[in-house]
Each structure stands twice: as structure tokens, then as C-alpha cells.
């Protein structure tokens, strides 16, 4: 009886153990929306503090910082890692604010069909003539992570945009 139970248990454990050891989560993403607010510190001096946008007033003209954090857990390195972020509706991307260490940052002006570096993007004006694109034309931001992500690699990318 006991022997049989033990055998069953160990069998269960054996079956469970390799599974949990192999079980890797892949890339976990976490996205936040924050704003910088000015508060008076203990000494009565103005200090900029970054808080969750949900905990602050957000009205037209305010700047929101959107951050996407990634954490990779996997046996094999993750390759061709791309983070793609359509610009939220009602928001205007603030030129030069996209950041991401070890990433190549590109933008799209055609709803994500094609991407290029900021200085290479063109848009057509009212007369159909090609003009350099401005931040107001961007529809998507894309971060391409250079090299492969090893197990346990972490990082984040961010951009700032203004409420129209």
C-alpha cells in the first residue's frame, strides 16, 4: 500500500519536475503610463516626481510618459525582438523622446506598414510632393533590440506624448 502510494507520488513528481524546470515564460511585457508632476518637498523646494497617470490630473497639453518593460526567460536566446507601439489616439508624439538602450528606434507614418529612422521618413504634402516627416505625422514607434536576448535579460523602452 505505502509502496504503491510512494511509487505513484514519485511518478507524479517525476512527471511534474521536468515540466516546471522547462516551463519558461518567454518575454513578459509591462506597460505603464506616467506623468511628471511638480511637488514641494520637505524643504519647500519644487521637485519633479514621476507618478502613474491614473494618480494625477491629465488634461490637454499634458505630457504622458509611456514605458514598456520587458523581461525574457527562455532556454534559447530570443532573436529578432521587436517592440511595436502604435501612438495612442488623441496623443501627439514629442519629437526626440523615444528611448531604448541597445535598440534601433524607427517610426512609421503609414499606420505601421513601413518603418524608417526619423531623419529618413517622408510624407506627401497637399500637392503630393515629398516632404520630411515631422513628429506629428508618426503613427507607430518601433524598437528593434540589437542582438539576441539571453535568459533573464531585462530592459525597457519609452516615449513621451502630449494630450491633444
Amino acid at each position: 500500500m505505502t509502496k504503491k502510494l510512494l511509487a505513484t507520488l514519485s511518478l507524479l513528481l517525476l512527471a511534474a519536475l521536468p515540466a516546471s524546470a522547462v516551463e519558461k515564460k518567454g518575454i513578459e511585457l509591462k506597460s505603464t503610463a506616467e506623468v511628471d508632476i511638480i511637488i514641494k518637498n520637505d524643504k519647500g523646494v519644487d521637485e519633479v516626481v514621476r507618478v502613474a497617470a491614473a494618480d494625477a490630473n491629465v488634461t490637454p497639453g499634458d505630457t504622458v510618459i509611456f514605458t514598456t518593460g520587458y523581461h525574457y526567460q527562455g532556454e534559447k536566446p530570443a532573436t529578432n525582438v521587436v517592440i511595436n507601439n502604435p501612438l495612442p489616439e488623441h496623443m501627439l508624439y514629442l519629437d526626440g523622446t523615444a528611448e531604448g538602450q541597445g535598440t534601433r528606434i524607427e517610426f512609421s507614418v503609414d499606420k505601421g506598414q513601413t518603418f524608417a529612422a526619423a531623419d529618413k521618413l517622408m510624407v506627401k504634402d497637399a500637392e503630393g510632393k515629398e516632404q520630411p516627416a515631422s513628429a506629428a505625422d508618426y503613427t507607430h514607434i518601433r524598437w528593434t533590440i540589437e542582438g539576441a536576448l539571453q535568459d533573464g535579460a531585462k530592459g525597457s523602452v519609452l516615449f513621451k506624448a502630449k494630450v491633444k
Binding site: G26, I27, E28, L29, K30, S31, T32, A33, A52, A53, A54, D55, A56, N57, V58, T59, P60, G61, V64, F66, T68, Y70, G74, K76, A78, T79, N80, V81, V82, I83, N84, N85, P86, P88, E89, H90, M91, L149, V157, V163, K164
Partner: protein
């Protein structure tokens, strides 16, 4: 089906700029902003897609308004329904109402002070079609970016003196749309819903500080015992083709200009001289100058009228006038070159 989706997408693309311009003042309060990032990568041979959304951001109510004074007014003692002209503009991102007050901040006190919504029939002038303000509900809701054209209307005391002035403040306070409840800013911790943030600048009225949901501007009544009222009109009298029957303003046609002068108020306007240059591309018709239907010679001589100077000017010396003086009517003719 595919074709239908294509059409819808095109329609949306065409609509996009239009819907943007509708929010010239900013994203409406209550708008939910969502942000979703997508990561794609290869795990060995398998392509993987992961997405993450940031917590929603709710756009709050940015209460902002501007009161602008568009015109002051000069009044005579005892005159009624004299208007100071203002505009109240909703610079926020939410439909609001406005509670209005007219307060005397300096100078003499006017009588029968009221606030009207100008219907625009006679812009800047009170008339019977304008709406008398009772409370914030009278003028109704004002959309974001919308305006109210407002008049402070008052009577000048009969005992006012020349040189007296009266400062009147139009003070507009933000009220919740559809109600007569004054809007209050959300105090303390930000809520998940739409919070109210005051963003207005300080106004001219005492105590109207920045970010109080109120704005104000000053209008000025100036009492002037005497005002000279001038009017000028023109008629086509004759042309070389139609003669006196429905004449047209063609070369050679004769135009008759009429200038009327009268004085309102108390006292005497001394040595009133009217001068009027002859318009370009026309010439004074000799011996056509008249005052009150009596001919005046063109020469600077014994009578009060003369023609001269470069460019040619009509000059009539009306002497001293009072409100009791009859209206003075000057006429002269010109010929179109």
C-alpha cells in the same frame, strides 16, 4: 466583404482630419487614452507575439475661460441702455455654463445695470432682441471653444458730470453644463473618473486669482456732457446717359454728399468746424456747397463755407452748437472723373 472593409477604412481615413479639427481646444474630458505595445521575437524557430497595455488614462476636465472687453462707451448724462461689449470664451475641453455678474469697481455708479446676451442683429449695441441674463441657465451651455457675446447695459445718472467715469467688471464663473451649480475643482487624490482642474488666468476683478474657475475684464463708461454726432451719406444725382432717371456711378456722373452734424448733452460745443476732403477720382462741382439748403460761395469770404487746399477740401464753420441747435445739414456735389 473585403471590398467593404476597404471602403470603411478609406472613409475613416478621410474623416480623421475632420474629427481632429473639431477639437481645436483639446481632447474632450472623459476621453480614455489606451496604449498597447506588442513584442514579437523568435524563440528558437517559433515566432512569438506578446502584448501589454498601459493602465487607461482618462482625460480630465480642464476648466479654462477668458473674458475679453471689446468696447468701452462714451455716454451723456441721463442716457439709457448704454452698452459695454464683452466676449466670454470657453477655453476648456468640456461643455460648461457661466454665471455672470456686473460689478462697479471704480468711479460713479450707473443705474439699472443689467447683463444681456447680444443677438448680433446690432453687434455691440443693446436692442430689443437681446436676452436679459437671469442666471447661468439663461444663456445655456457653451461648447468647448464656444463664445458668448455679452453686453453690460446701464443708464447714466442724470446728475453725472462731464469727465466722470465708471468701471464695470464682467465676472464669469464656470458652472456645470445643464445646471446652475458652480463647478468645483477636484480636491485631493486623483479619481479614476473625470476630475476638474482649473486652468484660468487671473482676471481684472478684485479677488479673481488664477485657477479659480472665474475670469473677468473691465469696461469703462466715460461721461461726456457733449457729443458731436456726425453722419455722412452719398446719393447719385445725375449721370450723362440716364440723366436724372436711375442714374449710375459712371464717369461724368454727379454724386451728392450729405453731412449732418448735431450735438447731444449739456453745454455748448464752441467753434465747430467741419472739413471733408473731396474723394480721389472725383472733382468738386463748382458752386454746389449748401448749408441747411442755403447756397454758400466757394471762396473763403464772408460766408461760413469755402473750398480749397490740396487735395481739395470742403470747410464749413458751424460756430457754436448746443443740443437745442437744429441739425446742421451740409451738402455738396462732386463729378466722377
Amino acid at each position: 466583404m473585403t471590398r467593404k472593409i476597404g471602403t470603411i477604412a478609406l472613409f475613416l481615413a478621410l474623416c480623421y482630419p475632420a474629427s481632429q479639427s473639431a477639437y481645436a481646444i483639446g481632447t474632450p474630458s472623459g476621453t480614455v487614452i489606451t496604449n498597447t505595445a506588442t513584442a514579437t521575437y523568435n524563440d528558437g524557430a517559433t515566432p512569438v507575439t506578446r502584448t501589454a497595455s498601459a493602465p487607461n488614462v482618462v482625460v480630465d476636465n480642464k476648466v479654462n475661460l477668458t473674458v475679453t472687453k471689446n468696447a468701452d462707451v462714451t455716454v451723456v448724462p441721463g442716457s439709457s441702455d448704454q452698452s459695454l461689449v464683452f466676449e466670454v470664451k470657453n477655453d476648456g475641453n468640456t461643455t460648461q455654463r457661466y454665471a455672470l455678474t456686473a460689478t462697479n469697481s471704480a468711479g460713479i455708479v450707473m443705474e439699472n445695470v443689467r447683463i444681456y446676451l447680444d443677438n448680433g442683429t446690432n453687434p455691440g449695441v443693446w436692442d430689443a432682441g437681446d436676452t436679459l441674463y437671469l442666471d447661468a441657465a439663461t444663456f445655456g451651455d457653451v461648447l468647448a471653444d464656444g463664445t458668448l457675446e455679452v453686453l453690460i447695459v446701464a443708464d447714466t445718472p442724470a446728475a453725472a458730470n462731464s469727465g466722470d467715469t465708471a468701471d464695470y467688471q464682467l465676472v464669469a464663473t464656470t458652472v456645470d453644463a445643464g445646471t446652475t451649480t458652480v463647478t468645483t475643482a477636484t480636491v485631493g487624490v486623483n479619481t479614476a473618473g473625470v476630475d476638474v482642474v482649473f486652468a484660468d488666468i487671473a482676471g481684472s476683478a478684485a479677488g479673481d486669482v488664477a485657477r479659480d474657475g472665474t475670469h473677468s475684464a473691465t469696461g469703462l463708461y466715460t461721461v461726456n456732457l457733449l457729443s458731436l454726432i456726425l453722419n455722412k451719406s452719398v446719393n447719385i444725382t445725375w449721370d450723362p446717359t440716364n440723366l436724372f432717371v436711375t442714374p449710375k456711378a459712371i464717369p461724368g456722373a454727379i454724386l451728392t454728399y450729405t453731412i449732418t452734424a448735431s450735438v447731444v448733452g449739456v453745454g455748448t460745443a464752441a467753434n465747430v468746424v467741419i472739413t471733408d476732403p473731396i474723394p480721389a477720382n472725383s472733382s468738386y462741382a463748382a458752386n454746389s456747397l449748401q448749408l441747411n439748403s442755403v447756397a454758400l460761395t466757394d471762396a473763403a469770404d464772408g460766408d461760413v463755407g469755402s473750398i480749397g487746399g490740396t487735395p481739395t477740401e470742403v470747410t464749413v464753420d458751424l460756430g457754436d452748437l448746443t443740443s437745442a441747435s437744429p441739425e446742421q445739414v451740409i451738402t455738396f456735389d462732386v463729378t466722377i472723373d
